[in-house]
């Protein structure tokens, strides 16, 4: 019985908590909270120092310069005479995105080709690809961009005045190719094509069911294409029937007019700011509560709610704190956000309504051949799509550099597919191309995708090197802006927001594709 007594006494005595300095549960949180406070304190301290220092220099951070004059004119872009600094930054952002998107496409194509050549049986192709990869990836991309600029401007032929109406003109001022642009009827056309979704869904359902029942070829794919084609062709001529949407969307007028004109834009405009704030608050708290409910559900067992760990509680508290912080932002820190959402939402619908206006409805798309101006200076006319030498140097530098990495990724991905897979495919009687399409590439793609996403991120970030060749991307125009007005901190936050948004978008896309490719396994 004595034994039982000791156990009992331990059971009784252990009810008291261990002292704080050796309670792992407490210490863990003390350490975390201390570090959190230090980090927040450091941010607060540095931030207040910066704001004080800037105020002393009459440079209190503000975003008012966005509506101020641009002061500078971008060398190229969607608008070379922007009306405000905000517009100027927007032009820079569009240029960045253009370069990034074109760079991603071109470097993927080139990289895949080089990667395949690297795997080729042909000695020469193999060596050439290897040379390409090893040379380009070991030289800094900035040096390459400079090199390409000097090389291009030193070797390309002069542009002759009066040359016109060719499909392709290459000169030291860049390259010009035919331009295809959307015309007035474009949006109606898109809306018309969107109508086709209904028959497409029906057709797909029908053909899928038929194949499930009777077997044989699944015609869902061809049928989708055919229906799309029909709607596109009919819509090309009949797109103006969609212009009634203009009245629904509203008009692109001033705020007061919009409310009077009605439509979605008007309705949007008449939302009071406090209502928008309330809606946003409800939305974030809804999200937080939804998260907590879903989380708790995932912890619910037939035997009742599972015991939650510290980490579990942290997640829930974090959700509520985040929602509370956002509420603070909506109501106190940045009340203008709500009116900005109202205005830009209204702007968007108004803009859309304008695109569907009654007087529109001509050809959706149009094209023009490049021309060269006849004046004193030989310059490309506005008709063609022109790639200036500056942009070309950046693009070529980025594409070649990135392609050399992509080639290695592609090669590695294909080599990573085990040899057994090829053999198994052959043993099943698949042809070489079938094996490649149905067995090797899907698996290789799975290996390739994550590092490829990283390269896309890199190319987007490296567009910022445009500053080296004077191309007006968001970093270059941003730098000009803060050189003029001293609002470096504000411009910096705009850069950060823009690039983080780009990065986030790319990772979302890559993760989505990755999720689709994921092999189901335990």
């Amino acid at each position: 019985m004595a034994v039982i007594d000791t156990t009992q006494s331990v059971l009784a005595s252990s009810q008291q908590r261990p002292p704080i300095w050796r309670n792992s549960g407490v210490l863990k949180w003390v350490a975390q909270i201390v570090v959190l406070l230090l980090v927040l304190g450091a941010f607060w301290f540095l931030g207040s120092t910066a704001i004080d220092g800037l105020a002393a220099k009459n440079l209190t951070p503000s975003y008012e310069f966005i509506d101020g004059p641009a002061n500078i004119q971008p060398s190229e872009g969607i608008d070379t005479a922007p009306s405000s600094a905000g517009r100027l930054l927007w032009v820079g952002m569009v240029t960045t995105l253009q370069v990034a998107i074109v760079g991603v496409i071109l470097s993927t194509i080139l990289g895949v080709l080089v990667g395949l050549a690297r795997l080729s049986n042909n000695w020469l192709a193999n060596r050439a690809a290897s040379f390409f990869i090893e040379t380009l990836r070991n030289i800094p991309v900035l040096v390459q961009i400079f090199l390409w600029f000097y090389v291009m401007s030193n070797t390309l032929p002069d542009l002759e005045a009066g040359e016109g109406r060719r499909f392709f003109i290459l000169s030291q001022k860049g390259v010009s190719i035919p331009r295809i642009f959307y015309d007035d009827g474009f949006y109606q056309w898109l809306a018309f094509i969107a109508l086709g979704i209904v028959p497409i869904v029906l057709a797909r359902r029908y053909f899928n069911a038929r194949q499930a029942a009777q077997g044989g070829q699944n015609l869902a794919g061809p049928a989708t294409l055919a229906i799309l084609a029909v709607f596109a062709i009919v819509g090309w001529f009949a797109n103006s029937v969609m212009s009634f949407l203009g009245g629904i969307f509203g008009s692109n007028e001033t705020a007061v007019d919009r409310v009077n004109e009605g439509g979605i834009a008007g309705a949007w405009q008449s939302i009071p700011q406090s209502l928008m704030q309330l809606l946003l608050t409800l939305a974030v708290f809804g999200l937080a509560i939804g998260f907590i409910i879903r989380f708790l559900n995932s912890r619910r067992t037939p035997a009742g709610l599972a015991k939650l760990t510290d980490d579990d509680y942290f997640r829930m508290i974090f959700a509520v704190v985040a929602a509370a912080f956002m509420t603070l932002v909506f109501w106190v820190l940045w009340p203008g956000l709500s009116s900005w959402i109202i205005n830009s939402g209204s702007d968007f619908w108004g803009w859309l309504g304008d695109k569907f206006g009654d007087d529109r409805g001509t050809r959706p798309l149009d094209g023009m051949l490049p021309t060269v101006s006849d004046g004193r200076f030989a310059n490309y006319g506005p008709t063609g799509a022109t790639l200036t030498v500056f942009r070309a140097a950046l693009l070529v530098g980025l594409v070649l550099y990135t392609a050399s990495f992509i080639a290695e990724i592609v090669r590695g991905g294909i080599l990573a597919v085990a040899k057994g897979q090829t053999e198994a495919a052959a043993a099943l009687g698949l042809s070489r191309s079938q094996a490649l399409r149905k067995v090797i590439l899907p698996q290789a793609f799975r290996v390739i995708m994550p590092p490829l996403g990283n390269q896309y991120l890199n190319i987007t970030k490296n567009t910022s090197l445009a500053i080296a060749v004077g191309l007006s991307d968001v970093v270059q125009v941003g730098q000009s802006v803060f050189n003029k007005n001293g609002q470096s901190l504000a411009v910096f936050t705009i850069w950060m927001a823009f690039f983080l948004a780009c990065s986030l978008t790319i990772s979302v896309i890559v993760n989505f594709i990755n999720g689709r490719l994921e092999i189901v396994e335990r």
Partner: protein, 404 residues
């Protein structure tokens, strides 16, 4: 028992550590107070009181690499500009920190042997010769267009000789003072004769041209304002580096380039390809670009030193023709004003806080204005004759107040 003894020993040692830290600091403070070391400015941190760590020039930050990330803050330093005149700081330090461009032809550029030459570099040397008696006691701090004025405000450089234009806003709002102009420049444009340009062409003829210039300067604003006024459309490309501008012009990527006339003349003299005929226009520059020294505001003692260094070279060049070769002779039997300037009497210079022979050193080690001009600007094809940089005696603008 043995253990407790050990603890006591430890306690004593620990106390010693604390004292060492404390004592060290007070001695440091004494050092700087005694003034042989001028702890006021950043580079003088020979006393390693961490709060005035290394200067900006000696990559003082790299210590973080040697220990760990925790000590990143050791890169910090104090800049205490408020203490005394820059003149005293420069004399304490023994070197002049002079902001230059480092890549401006004829103004300041780095030679293959590591030396810096150009008219701006020579004026840095002149100030050093006046203040320190040694024209070579200069540290040239190369600055980009964007960072140059901050360097003045933070005291990173004592004087800025970086072909900087004297403008109202810079003089007032940005918080600097400008010295006498050492070179009267003006923005001009350069185009090709094959495009139908001549030296007398008008700016309005560049309609629809691709115009290239360098970023972060007044030239960028000038040309776009002018284009607006004239109602012509141009495409404006701006670059950090003027080499790209010139290269684009040679290749034809740029139809017209624009910057200060002096730079255009220099580039034209050196880089014009055989088959292109470059012309600089319009005859009257589109802007006034008086270039000269820049220094921090509200330090009149330092301002006097820099200004009179410039005036001394101007007076002796244009009015008396005394150069580095005949300076000794002039000191012995020159005009009274020359002797005064060269320190024959002495009070004028010592009243400024300089040694009596300050300007003698300038002339003998660097030369007079004519010599500086000939040495740096003649080789790139620029001449004083008939320009604003000629002496007032010959109808130019180079004029110095009397020295008496």
């Amino acid at each position: 028992m043995k253990n407790t003894k050990l603890f006591r020993l430890l306690a004593v040692l620990f106390a010693v550590t604390l004292f060492a830290a404390a004592c060290g600091s007070s001695e440091t403070a004494d050092d700087s107070a005694s003034g042989d070391d001028g702890a006021a400015t950043d580079d003088s941190g020979s006393d390693d009181s961490g709060s005035d760590d290394s200067g900006s020039d000696d990559s003082g930050s790299d210590d973080s690499g040697s220990d760990d990330s925790g000590s990143d803050d050791s890169d910090t330093e104090t800049v205490d500009v408020a203490q005394g005149s820059i003149l005293a700081q420069v004399q304490d330090r023994g070197t002049l920190r002079c902001g230059v461009s480092g890549a401006a032809v004829a103004f300041s550029f780095t030679q293959a042997d590591g030396s810096v030459t150009g008219i701006d570099a020579d004026y840095c040397r002149a100030v050093a010769a006046a203040v320190l008696g040694d024209a070579d006691a200069v540290e040239f701090i190369a600055l980009t267009a964007a960072e140059r004025f901050d360097a003045i405000n933070t005291g990173n450089v004592d004087v800025l000789m970086r072909n900087s234009t004297w403008t109202q806003s810079r003089d007032t709002a940005v918080g600097m003072d400008f010295g006498p102009t050492t070179y009267f420049d003006g923005q001009q444009l350069m185009a090709r004769a094959s495009d139908g340009f001549s030296a007398t062409s008008d700016v309005s003829e560049i309609d629809s041209a691709v115009v290239c210039t360098n970023a972060g300067t007044t030239t960028e604003t000038n040309i776009s304002e002018l284009a607006d006024t004239l109602g012509i459309g141009i495409t404006l490309n701006t670059f950090e580096d003027f080499n790209i501008v010139t290269d684009g012009f040679i290749a034809g990527t740029c139809d017209v380039i624009t910057t200060d006339g002096s730079a255009l003349v220099g580039r034209k003299a050196e880089q014009q390809p055989d088959d292109q005929e470059w012309v600089i226009f319009p005859p009257t520059p589109i802007s006034k670009e008086p270039l000269g020294p820049v220094y921090a505001q509200n330090d009149s003692q330092w301002a006097d030193v820099v200004n009179w260094t410039v005036y001394a070279t101007v007076i002796l060049a244009d009015e008396y023709g005394v150069g580095s070769a005949d300076v000794d002779d002039a000191l012995a039997n020159g005009a009274p004003e020359v002797i005064r300037i060269l320190g024959g009497e002495g009070e004028i210079q010592t009243a400024m806080g300089l040694s009596a022979d300050a300007f003698y050193n300038v002339i003998s080690q660097v030369g007079n204005y004519q010599e500086i001009f000939d040495r740096n600007l003649n080789p790139v094809g620029l001449s004083r004759d008939g320009s604003a940089n000629a002496s007032w005696l010959e109808g130019g603008l180079m004029y110095a107040p009397p020295a008496r």
